[in-house]
Symmetry: C2
Subunit: 767 residues, 2 copies
Amino acid sequence: MNLNYIKPHEWKIIEEGFHKEHVTASESIFSLGNGAMGQRANFEEYYSGESLQGSYIGGIYYPDKTRVGWWKNGYPEYFAKVLNAPNWIGIGVKINGKVLDLNKCEIIDFSRELDMRNGLLTRSFIASFPDGDMVKVHVKRFLSMALNEVGVIKYSITPINFDGNIEYEPYLDAGILNEDSNYDEFFWEILDKKTYDDEAYIMSKTLKTGFDVCTGMKTTFQLNDAAITLEKETHSEEKSITYQYTKSINTGDTFSIVKYGGYTQSMNHPVGELFYVSAQKLNEAASIGFDLLLEKQEKLWSRIWDTADIVINGDIKAQQAIRFNIFQLNQTYSGEDSRLNIGPKGFTGEKYGGSTYWDTEAYCIPFYMSTKDHNVARNLLIYRYNQLDKAIENAEKLGFKNGAALYPMVTMNGEECHNEWEITFEEIHRNGAMIYAIYNYVNYTGDVDYIASHGMEVMIAVARFWEQRANFSKDKDQFVILGVTGPNEYENNVNNNWYTNYLAKWCLEYAMENLELLKENYPQDYDRIIGKTNLEAEETIKWGEVARQMYFPYSEADGVYLQQDGFLDKELIPVAGLSKSERPINQKWSWDRILRSPYIKQADVLQGFYFFENHFDDKMIEKHFDFYEPLTVHESSLSPCVHSILASKIDRNEKAYEMYLRTSRLDLDDYNHEVHEGLHITSMAGTWLSIVQGFGGMRNFDNQLSFDPKIPKNWKSYSFKIKYREHTIKVFKNHESCKFYNESDTPVKIIVSGKEITIFNQDLVVV
Amino acid sequence: MNLNYIKPHEWKIIEEGFHKEHVTASESIFSLGNGAMGQRANFEEYYSGESLQGSYIGGIYYPDKTRVGWWKNGYPEYFAKVLNAPNWIGIGVKINGKVLDLNKCEIIDFSRELDMRNGLLTRSFIASFPDGDMVKVHVKRFLSMALNEVGVIKYSITPINFDGNIEYEPYLDAGILNEDSNYDEFFWEILDKKTYDDEAYIMSKTLKTGFDVCTGMKTTFQLNDAAITLEKETHSEEKSITYQYTKSINTGDTFSIVKYGGYTQSMNHPVGELFYVSAQKLNEAASIGFDLLLEKQEKLWSRIWDTADIVINGDIKAQQAIRFNIFQLNQTYSGEDSRLNIGPKGFTGEKYGGSTYWDTEAYCIPFYMSTKDHNVARNLLIYRYNQLDKAIENAEKLGFKNGAALYPMVTMNGEECHNEWEITFEEIHRNGAMIYAIYNYVNYTGDVDYIASHGMEVMIAVARFWEQRANFSKDKDQFVILGVTGPNEYENNVNNNWYTNYLAKWCLEYAMENLELLKENYPQDYDRIIGKTNLEAEETIKWGEVARQMYFPYSEADGVYLQQDGFLDKELIPVAGLSKSERPINQKWSWDRILRSPYIKQADVLQGFYFFENHFDDKMIEKHFDFYEPLTVHESSLSPCVHSILASKIDRNEKAYEMYLRTSRLDLDDYNHEVHEGLHITSMAGTWLSIVQGFGGMRNFDNQLSFDPKIPKNWKSYSFKIKYREHTIKVFKNHESCKFYNESDTPVKIIVSGKEITIFNQDLVVV
């Protein structure tokens, strides 16, 4: 059963009525973030019902001890855990001495809205206490993008049927726990606490990793929107500070607390200045005030929406969904800090250690590259460049030599932090995604310099890995790659996964090609890199051999590349033949049964065809789509978008739309029954791709930008914008025509459905 | 570095000199057991150095929560943990008020001996205290086989250079911990304690499983071997009872405590009678006394040795080793109780959950079958028969239907208790071993009735499993078995493991053959079984199809069956080409590297050739041996014995001897650097096999007993006995000839080196 309780709206996420069973799901869906920090939509006031408390700071992690049933040589000893951070949003509320707790009061007219135009979360309800006291509550909250170390809450209470005491107890709590694992351990050491007027600060430090964080709050009060001041009582406990403010008010009066809070941390400031900067930022925010800060917020969001927005006409659920995806991606990663990356759950949950998966390279980079300045995508590449040494160390641990690199499957700081052997050691295709991202970035942005300054070193290290990882099969008289797991994780330890072999061959060729390019055009960089990497001529000769003689499993009878050796030994019964009661198979079947079944979590041959579409003709694509799509169960959040894009490509329009819906409303409609754990952030980039590259048919192979726009039957129109090199191009498509606006000051050449078109500056072409 | 500190002796295991770094290893090597209980050779007195405390009761386990890094559907929620039981051996010792602790005193003339003729463990040493006091200590201990709920300790102290107080503090301690996992949890609840004269009892119960155990002790005292009585002080703590006895003695006098202790438990007695039976048994033992009990013990052991002993002349280390193996197997399992089985570490350590692996069927049954009454092997078969329902449930969990059974990889009570997916779900060849054991037993003993009474039901359930587990490959036009792990666990999730496919085919055929046999000869049983299992004619038709059309990977070029599909894609560099620094590879290499290497933990194709030697001619065996042996690293304790047997078969005598040494002194010389965790009990049966079936060439295919005796160059002679059907046959081999004695009252026909020979009753034939 999908939850499916979110009300459709073009710009808002709306929940109406209070249902305790939705609380944890809504905590995920209504999450806030500003790229530097984020938090689940936990209630400010005490809540005794089920809840997953979560507040997260970008870049802060804890190296938690690996626990496995049976240790395998080579496992990392620690994994980087996304750490729950001190709570600054908390405001205890008492009405005439009675604790306000939505789990205990009768709740009337509950509504919650997240406005995606400004990132404002509002919540309003009437709470009725057992003794008859009724209050109207209205809460607004956002995390400032202008001051990204500050968030603001305005909490207002209006007594409906009594005169009496309202008590606010704003607090900071650094005694927080994690739920994901080792839930009863503390990861923070409390260093110091400061209280000062209506401000309070707790200095704490993560154990082991030693990140220093100052958590602060500052409060102001209003009666019917006029500022007032109040006396307080202070309660300072070992790990928390609580202020207590009480006011007696009359029926109909509205008493509000405005709480400014947030973090400063040692990745961004000297440790000695954290408290001072915290105080400065909170006071700056308070002097600007809630309303003005929100105005700024809206302006910043409107700048984001200006390029990132996709407008869909005639399908409000599709409209809401695509904006939700774009909104969450922007809440998670702003692209300003090359030390950060895009965690699979962003700031919406703590599941999965580490923040960085190959999702970033394969899915997120194209999104950020097209909707933001190109330095954002570049920062994501630099992140991996900066971790190259760690990737080389990682490969050494597994027996590779001579500067070969294996990027980790999951990481926070460059070290591997995953521990299933079939993934940690074998899902090595991720190494290819690193190179594909460089290729994609350079091809899209034209920033060839990046290869000379950074990219080449990564390419060499990865090429070395592939050359060592392949071995020559006398039996096949070709090179093979044994014992891998492809993106389709429903096959483990297979030989000659087509996608992996293809990517390996391509990485080797691309490295050789770029070595030639640098030798020619960047001779100084070339010499520097050869010197730094000690690259020998024999090595590249070997690369060439391995690439040329790479083996690919192929079925003559079916005319398709096979996912891996032996794939045709399976009983190839399509997913359609599976009873509904057996799905999702990852919840219904034991692992061995999944492995020997033909069912595909995400079709990696198709992933390869997506990456290298220009290497194959339409017939080939169609043949492979028809072979693999019927066997795919899409139990990876990264699967439907690629199928949607390829389906659009080969005019399977209904399938494309079906897959689009599945990717875009994955979390809003909770397809996988797990939204309470957090959102699927990285696959949201796939949703964007399935419109822009899928329906829009955008491609950028061979230094050419091309489109082939189609539109789902039930949409009236849709439009999107992309930044391409120095241009901003807007695409509008309805059932009659397609319009291309060139919003920039120079002409741009594009290819539309195979024909080259020049759009002049600030001009429009209708096709 | 192998430890290699055990002194060679024909009948004894001897350690000389006190070396703290050997304490945990010696605790394993000098372990005692009587089939019903067992214990590591922990010191009776307090020891502050490194030690692994362990006392175990046959059949008692705890269902411990499974912990894995990443949960896979189908994992058992609990695994059966071998549980450390209350300590009854403890005797605190104080000399003039100073604690005797071998870690703190200077220790002179330390020696420890385990006499394999009677299972007596003795320890003697002189302890010199920092203040100059010196005592001579002599300790004797054994676990009675006559009264298998009782063990006895005689602890004697003689002051060398002072007159003074000697204090004995015998105690019972039920507050014991486990080291293997969850080391800080308690698994025992204390129910009651009783103290009475010089006796004490603690009633305790395992949590969850609810096994009730009464642990008891009774003490007597001697001065210079004359009985004395002493007053005591009693200290009763929450989980322990300690008695304190002090005596002032003179230089040269010997003051001894004799402590009788042990367990009674609820598998064997009504709970209400445990205390009473305990008291009865301890008093019975005390009334018999240490010396007489030891005499009885020696008689019982001599009965065991009478058939089980192997005498080797001219190679004392080989002699010591084979006796050690036979001794430990008999300490672990007496064969009287069909609820018990042979744990991989017996009573010598707590590692590995569960007591029962396929080792029992493949290795141990032939040993017990030949050296004990046939009902012992039958009891081991009955154990699995009694767990058939659980095996069917286990298969159902994994999606199998219609009464198909999958026996667990590891179990205590019939439920699976292992949690690595590649083993738990995929190492399904174990199911074949169950049937092979029935075949082997029936063939050897002639007990065809067993098939009718028990075996057929197991065969049907297992045949159903194989039929469902195989699938038809259109590509190969044959049946395949995908996604398995063979006995060679250095390959995971492979397709068409030759050994598994061969065993599956054979199980199907053997089940069909026996159905015919029962129909003919046991029509009533046949009808009963058909009714009970609802076996349909179509099922057996399908079995026939699968068996007939089973696929086997084969290399035309090499003329050998391949371990699995794709094996020839590997770089087949022999183990000899591996640098020593890389071995053992399971400690030096990451798992992926092991998996894609050609190296074999134990060669499962050869295991199949061993099981079904009569299906292949000598040339085939030779070819396969020469193909697989050079790739085998023997990092399973079960590997060398099979290679030794096959090497003997094909006259590779040096290899056979090399492999024999490796299997027989695995623990005494600590080849795998892990003897401190316990002994490798089950592989000890393999050592016996490598003499009797290896050098002796004993086989029992096709209802015929045959021999083909050889002898290692450096041995003068060897002899062994076997019980075969109603006969006991002794084989003596030296470099000149081979003698066969028929010790029984009826003639026996055997085949020696291909020729049939009749040996008359009580007669001898020289060949």
